[in-house]
């Protein structure tokens, strides 16, 4: 059961899924299969491993031994090449109804290898309302061998009609120890570093891994956490905001520039650019310009999303910092996410009131909401840094 073993600190969910996998196997053998159902919704905070849980479940459904971890089926599911698993990863800001309809059509087919056809929809919360509605019928009454696995941060992110058609699997935030243990055993990270990364990432396994393995990511976090200290005048706030937004733009550029180029060249090739031979013209064939424009729109939406995600990571680091400040102010005996900066946290806790801290935290949360509502990032972040400012005593 190596697949389920990878799910850190999710014993309850694992038990449910294993039981369902066993029931599914029974159903395949002609039994009643009570305990298996055709639509699942995996929820849990970011980094708790929703898609990994879904993947593990998919493997356990497709593997003859319910997820042994070393047979062909398990391996294919792991690398994403299994013919019966349709893996949807929305890259842009949202997932459209048109795309969903195509997906529904795919889900209507019978499994190729005879066990189950699995539709794994990561980030299903990105589906627009129209898209979610297009999905309703499909997840309510799929063909007998089709299973829908949706992933979303919380059940509230899906419309009620979807929620009521799915069985919800709730993943919890794994403990710091569990995350550190995984980092140390699986990635060979030194125990000290593993503990630091696990604390700083607050249960987000992927983020903890990046923090532990990538110097640049750690440096970025240091930059962000130095912001609260630097905000004394309004000029500083503007500069800090400028830097935050610029970094996120650079992230988006770095992640997309090379990819965009490859995609565009590929598409141009598909539409006949550079082809030679009789009866072919040099330029794009009919429809090429439209397809290119569509690709451009998709790429732009993807860049915006990466930019927002990158900003969001920074904002969450800031929230964690002020949460620690609040914990110290209230004398709560919990472990600090920023243990490495305890000194600063305590200093700020002494020089401000809990009200200040709460006000600042809500300014950060408001900034996140504004970013999601398409507010100009610079304006939103400026408003936030100004609200974080420590007013100089008059």
């Amino acid at each position: 059961m190596s697949f389920f073993g990878d799910l850190v600190g999710q014993d309850r969910a694992v038990a449910v899924l294993q039981k369902a996998a066993a029931a599914a196997a029974e159903a395949l053998a002609g039994g009643r299969g009570a305990g298996m159902t055709h639509a699942w919704l995996f929820t849990g905070p970011p980094g708790s491993g929703r898609s990994n849980a879904a993947k593990a479940f998919a493997a356990s459904l497709l593997c003859p031994d319910q997820g042994c971890g070393h047979c062909d089926a398990c391996h294919q599911v792991d690398v994403g090449s299994h013919p019966d698993v349709t893996w949807v990863r929305p890259e842009g800001l949202s997932y459209s109804a048109r795309q969903t309809r195509e997906l529904v059509l795919k889900g209507a087919g019978a499994p190729t290898l005879g066990r189950w056809r699995i539709m794994l929809f990561e980030d299903a919360d990105r589906a627009t309302e129209a898209a979610a509605n297009a999905l309703l019928k499909a997840i309510e009454e799929p063909p007998p061998r089709t299973v829908w696995l949706l992933c979303a941060p919380s059940p509230d992110d899906m419309i009620i009609t979807i929620r009521s058609r799915c069985r919800v699997v709730t993943l919890s935030t794994p403990s710091t120890e569990a995350v550190a243990h995984v980092l140390a055993t699986r990635d060979g990270v030194a125990p000290d570093m593993a503990l630091f990364a696990a604390r700083a990432a607050q249960g987000h396994i992927g983020r903890a891994r990046r923090l532990a393995l990538d110097e640049e990511v750690r440096r970025r976090r240091e930059d962000v956490l130095s912001i609260p200290r630097s905000l004394s005048g309004v000029g500083d706030c503007i500069t800090a905001a400028e830097r935050l937004v610029k970094t996120s733009t650079e992230d988006a550029d770095a992640a997309t520039t090379a990819l965009n180029e490859v995609e565009t060249t590929e598409l141009r090739k598909v539409y006949g650019e550079g082809s030679s031979g009789k009866g072919l013209n040099k330029g794009l064939v009919r429809g090429g310009a439209g397809a290119l424009k569509e690709l451009e729109t998709m790429q732009k939406s993807r860049a915006t999303r990466i930019k927002r995600d990158s900003l969001d990571i920074a904002l969450l680091d800031l929230v964690a910092f002020y949460r620690d400040v609040l914990a110290v102010q209230f004398g709560a005996r919990i472990e600090l996410a920023n243990e490495d900066r305890r000194h600063e946290v305590e200093a700020l806790a002494r020089s401000s009131t809990p009200e200040d801290t709460l006000r600042r935290t809500s300014a950060i949360m408001q900034c996140r909401e504004r970013l999601a509502a398409n507010v100009n990032p610079q304006i939103a972040v400026e408003a936030m840094t100004l609200a974080l400012r420590t007013p100089t005593p008059a």
Binding site: V375, N376, I379
Partner: protein
């Protein structure tokens, strides 16, 4: 064969006594292109008042139609074929047009109007090569050129206009040439006397047609609430996007914060490179900075951020959100 004429606003139908068999009018300024086409048609009519005019739309011209229209009619007489939006012509028809241009019919005047650009470029290139007369209409881009346009329009009506009056008219009507031309001819019709002066313009036109977000931002930051709101209303009424106004407000406040927060010992060039603004702008912002304190700037920027949220669908009425923001900005000025 085949000349090239730059079509300005001083150009008159009379200058074209005998229209070329095929004329291509290139340019996306609608009024000027219309006039160029009109003058050619008028010239053809002047030659032969009986001439039949066929006005066609590019997308609807079918193959063979040109041949039908240009072939001699039983009753004799000339014909004028005008093809508007020639960029929409289909491939076959374009080939037909190019072929026709090389050997035009005797009694037919063909006028093609193309907005320029890439669509239907084969037509422009082909017809040019085949020897058509090309008329290019250039869109005036600079304010000075628009003033010249106004003067030329008034002169067409046999009047003169003072420079100040021309400027006032441009401010009030905006940069759309069709509207300017209409305003000019209306003024010439309504005003007695040869010269049109500022008073005459002020009698029929008031206010500004085009207000940029920056004007509003400057007024609000300088604390001129009444004027700021008035200009805001003008801007909204003339279709300036609320998002642009918000970003102009944010930009203005951002400059205040940058200059206000810069180290005091920086001067001139050093300051300019520190805040990344040109020196003339720094002087202006420094003047605006009096009456502003850090708390005020902070409050004003919060208001702008929530306004951006409101105009992007978070609120029901962008105009209300903007007005409120302008008020908050002005009210924040007194803050320390």
């Amino acid at each position: 064969m085949g000349g090239c004429v730059e079509f300005g606003w001083a150009w008159h139908a009379a200058s074209m006594a005998n229209p070329a068999p095929v004329t291509l009018v290139v340019g996306d300024e609608e009024l000027l292109a219309d006039r160029a086409v009109g003058s050619i048609v008028a010239a053809a009519r002047a030659d032969d008042p009986e001439a039949e005019v066929h006005d066609l739309l590019g997308a609807k011209v079918e193959p063979g139609e040109l041949t039908r229209l240009s072939s001699p009619s039983l009753f004799g007489g000339r014909s004028v074929v005008v093809v508007r939006s020639a960029q929409d012509l289909s491939k076959d028809v374009i080939a037909e047009m190019v072929k026709y241009t090389a050997h035009p019919a005797d009694d037919t005047v063909l006028v093609l109007a193309h907005p320029g650009g890439v669509k239907g470029k084969a037509l422009v290139d082909g017809v040019k090569k085949a020897g058509a007369e090309v008329v290019t209409v250039a869109k005036p881009t600079k304010p000075g050129e628009r003033l010249d346009f106004i003067k030329a329009e008034v002169r067409r009506e046999g009047r003169t206009i003072s420079p100040a009056a021309a400027q006032a008219l441009l401010d009030a009507v905006g940069s759309d040439l069709r509207e300017l031309a209409a305003a000019c001819s209306q003024l010439a019709f309504d005003t007695p006397g040869k010269n049109i002066d500022e008073a005459a313009v002020a009698r029929y036109h008031r206010g500004r047609a085009e207000v940029s977000g920056f004007t509003i931002a400057d007024l609000a930051i300088e604390g001129r609430l009444g004027e700021a709101l008035e200009q805001l209303r003008w801007a909204l009424a003339t279709g300036v996007a609320p998002v642009l106004i918000v970003s102009a407000l944010a930009g203005g406040l951002r400059s205040l914060a940058k200059i206000g927060g810069a180290p005091r010992n920086l001067r001139g060039g050093q300051l300019a490179s520190h805040v990344g603004m040109p020196p003339w702008k720094i002087d202006r912002v420094k003047r605006q900075l009096s009456g502003w304190g850090p708390e005020g700037i902070s409050a004003a920027m919060q208001a702008v951020a929530s306004a951006d949220e409101q105009v992007k669908g978070g609120g029901t009425d962008p105009a209300y959100a903007l007005e409120k923001t302008v008020q908050v900005i002005v009210a924040s000025r007194t803050g320390r």
